[in-house]
Point group: D2
Chain length 359, copies 4
């Protein structure tokens, strides 16, 4: 079966990265280096970086070397006119709101990892395996802007892991209630976000920026419907408690679920998880994991260091499915927070837009 990816021809599409020197921005630069469809053409950053070479401005922190082609790009100031029609945004939320709107209004397609526009009434909060049909909102968004540009967002890093872990269950059995406690890696806070003095030999039972609220609201939009020109939330309720733990990458979470119709055939649930698939798999998108949600049979998995890199960090892993004495079932889920939970998620969103002819 020929896929879109196989069929695609011609030169790679030039793209820009906003907030290119930050932690999410660096991941974008890393993941774009060898991308078959997109080519990093422009890097944009606020403040002091503009005018310097990217190699000079970025304090590169990833464990692969800075791509030479990126290093030589000159950093453009935020707001500068861009030649790229597609931009990825890893901007800090303090500036992302206005800057992304501005670019979208000028006709640019903004694929954003920032939180500012996630809950907007005509902005998709997109996980292509789950809610590709939310792209229907873009028509309405374009009308509002009076522009051909638009914004598409991906969820919070923890939300993506949670939403993907429960989507196979929600779609087949329905979910009524959900308790989740997260243990989140320090990379989620950016390079300078968590002081080592704060987190070594420690756990911090709090994450700022409304982390718990995001996890309690975003999944309901994601698993909801786009219908009659508006988003209708999924009806389940969530209680989220978040913690920062001393791991580098990989958000782990314990989950307890009440199913809509009770009952809990664990084998059927495991089967739903393993067979779950969506648009990215059907379209053969370049960044799509072959199996979006893995199930680990070992009694002590998933674990951040051992499982976060499954399918290049794009698959979520679930394990320890078992009955809950209070609700119906319990399980553990893991997501690579800076790949599937951030830059990789945005990249997959952009690939879906391209495959759908929306660029």
């Amino acid at each position: 079966m020929p896929t879109h990816a196989d069929a695609r021809r011609g030169a790679r599409i030039p793209v820009a990265v906003l907030g290119a020197t930050g932690s999410v921005g660096q991941r974008f630069v890393q993941l774009l280096e060898a991308h078959p469809w997109f080519r990093l053409a422009e890097v944009v950053a606020s403040g002091r970086s503009a005018g310097r070479s990217y190699g000079d401005a970025a304090d590169w922190r990833l464990d692969t070397l800075l791509p030479a082609s990126a290093a030589s790009l000159e950093v453009k100031p935020l707001g500068a006119e861009l030649e790229s029609r597609l931009v990825f945004s890893g901007l800090d939320s303090s500036v992302a709101g206005e800057a992304e709107d501005d670019y979208a209004n000028r006709g640019v397609v903004v694929v954003s990892n920032s939180r500012n526009h996630r809950m907007d009434v005509d902005v998709p909060l997109l996980i292509p395996e789950i809610n590709a049909e939310h792209l229907g909102a873009i028509d309405r968004q374009r009308k509002r802007r009076g522009s051909n540009g638009y914004i598409v967002t991906n969820p919070n890093c923890s939300t993506i892991g949670l939403a993907m872990a429960i989507a196979p269950i929600e779609r087949r059995f329905g979910i009524d209630q959900l308790h989740v406690t997260t243990m989140q890696a320090i990379s989620g806070a950016g390079y300078a976000g968590v002081s080592s003095y704060a987190i070594l030999d420690n756990v911090i039972p709090f994450i700022g920026g409304g982390e718990e609220e995001k996890i309690e609201t975003e999944p309901r939009k994601i698993l909801g419907r786009w219908e009659s020109e508006r988003f209708i939330d999924a009806p389940f309720r969530i209680s989220a408690q978040v913690n920062r733990v001393p791991t580098i990458d990989g958000h782990l979470m314990t989950i307890s679920l009440k199913l809509r119709d009770g009952g809990a055939d664990l084998d059927a649930i495991r089967d739903a998880i393993r067979s779950f698939t969506g648009e990215p798999q059907r379209l053969g998108l370049p960044s799509a994991p072959k199996q979006p949600v893995h199930y680990a049979d070992e009694q002590d998995r998933p674990q951040p260091r051992l499982d976060r890199d499954r399918e290049d960090g794009m698959a979520v892993t679930v394990g320890r499915l078992r009955p809950c004495p209070l609700l119906d079932i319990r399980m553990v889920a893991l997501v690579h927070n800076t790949i599937r939970g951030a830059a990789g998620a945005a990249l997959l969103n952009a690939e879906l837009l391209e495959a759908r002819g929306m660029l």
Copy 2:
């Protein structure tokens, strides 16, 4: 008001430590060094240690120096006749069951941290602040044994933290349901228990030895009653999910609670926590914390490294009390797992026995 502690006179009581070379055993030796009532007279260990000096046999791992008086003691073999009438047991559960029974049957008072006899029908699972009246079971136990000796146990390290955190709430408002997710320190597994290769940059969502089951059952016995010669469990139900995290000491847990009568006056609950007190405080026991459960007002506390040593590790700290979207309230609790959660707990139990004249 003169307390028992003030009133006490005379020589310190000689005591023995079983399993003295293990991690809990070393804590016993450390805490007993300057104890006002008890004097370490004998150390007992299984296998290869017997016959050697304690300083030679113990691979001392605590961050205070090995007391010289303990170092010179000769290690006695498990089962040896002891001169001490009171023994503390930090034995591994593989041998504790039989060995503790054996000593109790020979007239010894065994204050144990091991799990083997915790759920026995006539053995108190004691937290002196909560259920001192469970000592009523000892009469029945002595009859069964036909001996003056008996066993008293303290709960699992996580259970103690959980039970103390919820006791003030349970006693005043009643508890109906409880979700708890723990993040447990590596010292809970003993010195060699968790390989660094397993836990660095990682979280393990599983702890062997029935950890979740213990947390789901022990609190019900602890908060239950001794009545008509038997233990009657408290009626609430618990769902526990446990994780090992890379912290040295201090088990942290997120808790979500349904109260018996609903409602949730957070100020009243905070007040219940702060004013909670019990027998050890009334009797002025030497190891008793002044305030058994602290409440931390900061939004990001308690934290293991910053709060585990409150009141020399004998106080539990609670924080982040807030409403739960699904149940009634949520909060975070912390216990020093090797002090209040193990050796310190047993020591306090023994102090209660002495103050009650039961030695």
Copy 3:
């Protein structure tokens, strides 16, 4: 033998802390709480903290609770007139130079942990066990200032550990050359100094601010002489290589030494280490360790977590003394970098000044 400490009478001396909200400042506040001679009367900080209560302005990070008496103090702005004649400075080096001079010129005795004035020609770089006679420089300093005030400094955290570890050897056998490689704890960089993303599962073979240069020069002043109104450096040379490692507190270092007269009777060296003592011990200063340099016989000690708190963090520990295939001897040394290596060092300096009647 009555000591100065025993003899002392009367009210505690009021003191101020400059830079009180920083990491060294917080240690000063902590250590002063129960000090027998000094009483924390004033807290001073730059910038936004001034005018707020200390409890409000300090983001308290130590593992003991913030003393209530300190919490209620109002933070004064840097440069404010002070009622205290003695001030401790934990100021950042960006402001310490001028501010400390200013106070000294106004008649205040400034006991500083900052690096700015350490190498000044008439400022003692004081370790009371080693070079109490350097206080002779104060007369000359007072003349220069035309004031009764003056500055006394303590060395860099690593330097203190190194200087104390080698002083017993240098004093008895003479030292000719010295290689040292440090493994320094993250607390040395202050609370926000080292990002967890930078140091978890990592070692950074570089520390800014001229760390290697300080270690290569300060010990020569410390172990040198005050003679004919000037400091004469000790003649040995040092090569220092520094690393940041993921430990909380405690700088560990490997040392290789060439002795002046060759030869290396290891027993004699160990004896020199263990019997080393100085003014603080003779005077019975309150913060003085009984034995300034401990020697650990175990083959794998000292270790930061196990040995940093010896004598309340005021003793340095040496171990693994053995021959060097290239020079004469090798050994390992450890210092608690924020106590003996910073705030505790300054406190001991001030105690010496008081005992000598120089306040």
Copy 4:
């Protein structure tokens, strides 16, 4: 230019792994999965694993999934007759000595990572970039054994990093003396080797098994010559001090060097490092790094987490080259201890044997 690798044809060579369930053994299994020349045909382990499937017997700990083809292999007992003519040994040193001799005497080519035979008078201690000519010793070894089989070893993990870092300098400028302090990752001790309680928030200035002695002797054999049927050590002397630090993978070391002829043109040394190359590069061996020794220009590199994976973990990285106040130059070096420092090293050795027609 066609290389041997390009030229090679035909089926992959079946190989066995001895000690396949251990940490080095698992790396062998991982690296062999997609190897172009070798095919994992047999797994061998001592004791309880024999007779079980590898998937069942191995407690797989790497961060890639256990290859399915390996999982289904039946573990053979140590000493069993093998069909493979080439075996990789990751055996523990307690059994490696005899078992490897036994297989070699039976005609098997044993490529070993164990320490037992490294210093044997006719066994190459091989780093193909440095001393491929040491393979000359194999003739003599075969004669001794009266067999076609033989043993080839690779050095200790730290030694490989050190030897590769200094080889470019030694070959061009000569080395006279060398101080090295290592900071070694916990994976070097195997999965259960370092307890987390021992190493979290800590550094251990000691590694058992004669680690310092190995680093002081092995490099002299490696950089020496095979001449007149015997190994002649290189004449320089080494002083090594070793430490265990809480990193997962990657041994970092600070080095201070005295050159044979003094002088120290840093640019010439950097050039020697970057241009260093050897047999594996000339032959295009599949596991050969393109550039065996990288030089990092940043002032704070190399760092274990950021640089250990360069060239799939097969390149060593050097940085911070600068003058030494005591000797001539100083620098920092890093090696991935379980890839280039263990399993990857052995694999490269076997590739050299195959390319030379010695299998």
